[in-house]
């Protein structure tokens, strides 16, 4: 194994392959920075060039893209409150308030450091877990996956801050929106009529851009001035952010592991990963008062997880040929072009190739982060530019991001509709993240519940995995509520003394 590890590094150090890795990182950073575009788009762009390319170079190119996107998508999330791709929605929660306070550079520094460490841990996890991956993946059947969706839904409480009722309402509305389109376990289309566009349901990208991007743009324009107040300055720069991350070693480690783990389970989809991690960090922190207002921990947790997840989603892709995310579906297609058959036999017959993938992932994370760090200072200055100069550009980019989903006129109509919805929610103090979580989990929850029932009748309720995850959700909820109550009690106590 060690020999293959070193051998793979030599394979990758070939100048052309390294060049391709850099090209991948560059493309990944570009599509990551542009809101709405993600790894899927980046990979689709290079797919035509893969025919006839050296397989190792092609893999380095694709992994470069996959690894750089979750680093670079932090820019719009932090600087403009617009999710850079579906993997960095939760970063908006605290990253953007930090930018408004003039701590953009610090938030970016923390995010990039967390991204790099998370990405490296993801690559390391991929190496370490390779021998055990199969039994772990196989342990998650439909009933366990259903319980995981419930665990995800239990995050709604903490993401609603001190407005739990409004949060639950928003989540329910998200669940309803998720039912539009093809039903997961029946050949029927709901609320779609003869409008074929709705057969696929609403697009997550368009919903996220509408909910978060448009209301922010409207309010910033109405307020006038720049995103951040000039008198705050850029804060004490990105080194402080890097130190923040290093001071929260345990947090980075924990959330990287959670990110790898959720990425690892095929069928959960990677867009929920950052929200779950954000939920957990809020739930398990003693002092919650600053979350949502610019707590650096709210940036570190999702950012460590969303880079680490790439190591996780590669696992089912390589071992079972089942994509762990939509970008990985494309990666599978590329493997097919190279004539590589995914499956457990990769680990015995083509270990070199597996390690080339792991090395690419590790190196791309390092390069990607360093480039993002270099870019962060000039780009962070954008927050001081009067917003009415930036707005037209950002609106165009957001519309392009939405339009590339299916290139149907309805993409833009729904972007606008969700934008209005998001603005109304923002104005009425209705939290938006629960809506997104409800939407993501709606189809999954319905699918896995029916599948569990069809497979096992009600016997699935007694499966050990189901009971363990149920206990975990309850512990997390009770502990969250307790910590919250004790925090609320300690505040007036402190005030009186």
């Amino acid at each position: 194994m060690l020999e293959a590890l070193i051998n793979a590094l030599w394979i990758l150090l070939d100048p052309f392959r390294m060049g391709m890795l850099f090209a991948g990182v560059a493309i990944g950073i570009l599509v990551g920075i542009l809101p709405g575009l993600g790894g899927l788009m980046g990979m689709a762009l290079v797919l035509p060039f893969l025919f006839g390319m050296d397989p190792y170079a092609g893999i380095a190119l694709l992994i470069g893209i996959a690894a750089a996107v979750p680093s670079a998508d932090t820019f719009p999330s932090v600087l403009m409150g617009i999710p850079g791709s579906s993997g960095s929605q939760a970063t908006v929660m605290d990253g953007y308030p930090m930018a408004r306070k003039g701590e953009a550079a610090r938030a970016l520094g923390a995010a990039f450091a967390a991204s790099m460490i998370g990405g490296l841990l993801g690559a390391l996890a991929l190496t370490a877990v390779v021998p055990f991956a199969r039994p772990i993946i196989l342990a998650f059947g439909s009933p366990e996956l259903f319980m995981l969706t419930l665990l995800g839904l239990s995050m709604v409480g903490v993401l609603s801050g001190n407005r739990p009722i409004k949060g639950i309402l928003a989540a329910v509305f998200g669940l309803v929106l998720g039912t539009v389109g093809g039903a997961p376990v029946a050949a029927e289309y709901r609320f779609a009529g003869d409008f074929l566009y709705l057969y696929d349901g609403f697009s997550l990208v368009i919903l996220a851009l509408g909910l978060f991007a448009l209301p922010e743009i409207v309010d910033l324009l109405a307020r006038g001035g720049a995103i951040a107040d000039k008198k705050h300055g850029l804060g004490s720069g990105w080194m402080r952010g890097v130190r923040d991350t290093l001071n929260h070693k345990w947090l980075v480690f924990r959330h990287s592991v959670i990110g790898v783990f959720i990425g690892f389970i095929p069928g959960m989809g990677s867009s929920i990963i950052d929200w779950v991690n954000y939920g957990i960090v809020v739930q398990t922190s003693k002092d919650k008062s600053q979350f949502g207002k610019g707590d650096v921990r709210g940036v570190i947790a999702p950012e460590s997880a969303n880079n680490a997840k790439e190591g996780g989603v590669l696992m089912p892709t390589l071992l079972f040929g089942v994509p762990g995310s939509s970008a990985m579906a494309l990666f599978l297609g590329a493997l097919m072009i190279f004539g590589i058959e995914p499956g457990p036999q990769l680990l015995t017959r083509e270990l070199d190739l597996v390690f080339v993938i792991i090395w690419s992932l590790a190196l791309a994370n390092i390069f990607g982060t360093l480039i993002c760090l270099l870019l962060s200072k000039p780009i962070a200055r954008l927050t001081f530019v009067p917003f009415h100069y930036l707005a037209p550009f950002i609106i165009v980019i957001v519309m392009l991001g939405a339009w590339q989903e299916t290139r149907h006129w309805a993409d833009l109509v729904f972007l606008l509709a969700f934008g209005v919805l998001g603005w109304v929610m923002k104005r009425t103090g209705m939290p938006r993240p629960p809506l997104l979580i409800g939407f993501i989990l709606s189809t999954l929850a319905e699918r896995y519940l029916w599948m569990s029932y069809n497979l096992y009748d009600w016997e699935w309720l007694y499966r050990p995995g189901v009971l363990i995850i149920a206990a975990l959700s309850i512990v997390l909820m009770v502990a969250g509520a307790r910590i919250k109550r004790s925090a609320q009690q300690s505040v007036p106590d402190g005030g009186e003394s």
Partner: protein
């Protein structure tokens, strides 16, 4: 984004060229200065997409006049949006082609609700076949395929989109097996993991996927192959799957169990579904009423392409053990559709709508 900027440029160039040079056409000059757009109604990365892109990569070089070929994924509604665009909103001049999967062809053939693609108005340009193999878990307690009727336990079979699995469902129908359908799986890969995990008892995979990923399970003693779906020749007789020539096919297994060849409505349905799905795993379609010069140019292009050693090398890995269907052999695709009686189509629609709730155009 880049992609359609590029598309726009190419389109503008093509437009200006076609405006200047509307000289007299012949197969040799028809495509000169034109571009061909291949609509792929699936997202990038799947098997059919890869086939479409492979053709897109090499066809342009070989069609007389060397047109620029652009493959474009027009996704949405399970292939309906892209297919309908091709059916209704493009010029019938041979500059737009469609890459369909065998199951998309089947959907069009059966008249799925919302799909407005009429295969009778199209002609195949080139196609590639793909077989399928059905396996059963050893937990079912049988040790040879002939004992299928004695299989024990919940005979769960994962369902994705029922039309997308029709060849395997109709085979189980032929054996009159009382299986338990579990809908909700998002693809055949998903059902394979569930099969490996022990959730599903019966599973059908494409033959290449069977060879690489189910065979290891058989070696571990967790599964047993039941039958290959097999192919149907031009005379309607079952033949073996060239990728697994030693494996018994479903019609042969039926004969072994019942002592007679399969017959009746289910068998007629099998003979209609199997060639359509398996001969056209990837099909490149053109509109039937495009100019003859365009048809001839495409035919020449395909013949030259399949003889190109570079194409042969690149296609080997993507075709996974099967041969490209081109030239006169393409006739069998439409022949098998024409051979299916209206009663067979009605039977299949009835079975899909009562059992799975699939909705069809009236």
């Amino acid at each position: 984004m880049k992609k359609w900027v590029k598309g726009l440029c190419v389109g503008m160039v093509a437009l200006s060229l076609s405006a200047i040079g509307s000289v007299q056409a012949s197969p040799e000059t028809y495509y000169a200065g034109k571009s061909i757009r291949i609509v792929i109604p699936f997202s990038p990365g799947g098997g059919t997409d890869t086939f479409g892109r492979l053709i897109g990569q090499y066809l342009g070089k070989h069609v007389p006049g060397s047109p620029t070929v652009i493959s474009e994924n027009v996704t949405g509604a399970g292939g309906l949006l892209g297919s309908n665009e091709f059916a209704e909103r493009v010029a019938h001049d041979g500059t737009t082609l469609l890459t369909a999967s065998g199951h998309l062809n089947l959907r069009a053939f059966l008249g799925l609700r919302g799909l407005r693609l009429d295969l009778n108005a199209l002609e195949p340009v080139v196609a590639a076949p793909m077989g399928h193999v059905t396996a059963i878990a050893t937990r079912a307690g049988i040790d040879k395929p002939e004992d299928l009727a004695q299989a024990k336990g919940r005979l769960t079979k994962g369902i994705t989109d029922p039309i997308g699995l029709l060849e395997s469902l109709i085979a189980l129908e032929m054996f009159d097996l009382n299986y338990r359908p579990v809908p909700g799986y998002s693809g055949r890969g998903d059902t394979r993991i569930a099969f490996e995990r022990g959730e599903l008892m019966i599973n059908t995979q494409s033959t290449p996927a069977y060879l690489s990923r189910v065979v290891p399970l058989i070696e571990e003693g967790k599964a047993m192959p039941l039958f290959a779906i097999g192919f149907i020749d031009a005379d309607g007789n079952p033949v073996r799957d060239p990728a697994v020539p030693d494996m018994i096919t479903a019609p042969e297994l039926y004969e072994r169990i019942h002592g007679e060849k399969p017959s009746g409505m289910v068998w007629e349905a099998f003979k209609a579904v199997v060639p359509l799905v398996q001969n056209t795993r990837g099909t490149l379609w053109m509109h039937g009423d495009i100019p003859d010069d365009a048809k001839e140019a495409l035919r020449i292009g395909v013949e030259r392409m399949v003889a190109d050693p570079e194409f042969i090398a690149a296609s080997e890995r993507i075709l996974e053990g099967y041969e490209i269907i081109h030239g006169d052999d393409l006739g069998q695709i439409k022949d098998s559709m024409a051979a299916a009686s209206p009663e067979v189509i009605a039977f299949l629609r009835e079975m899909l709508s009562t059992r799975f709730g699939t909705q069809f155009e009236d």
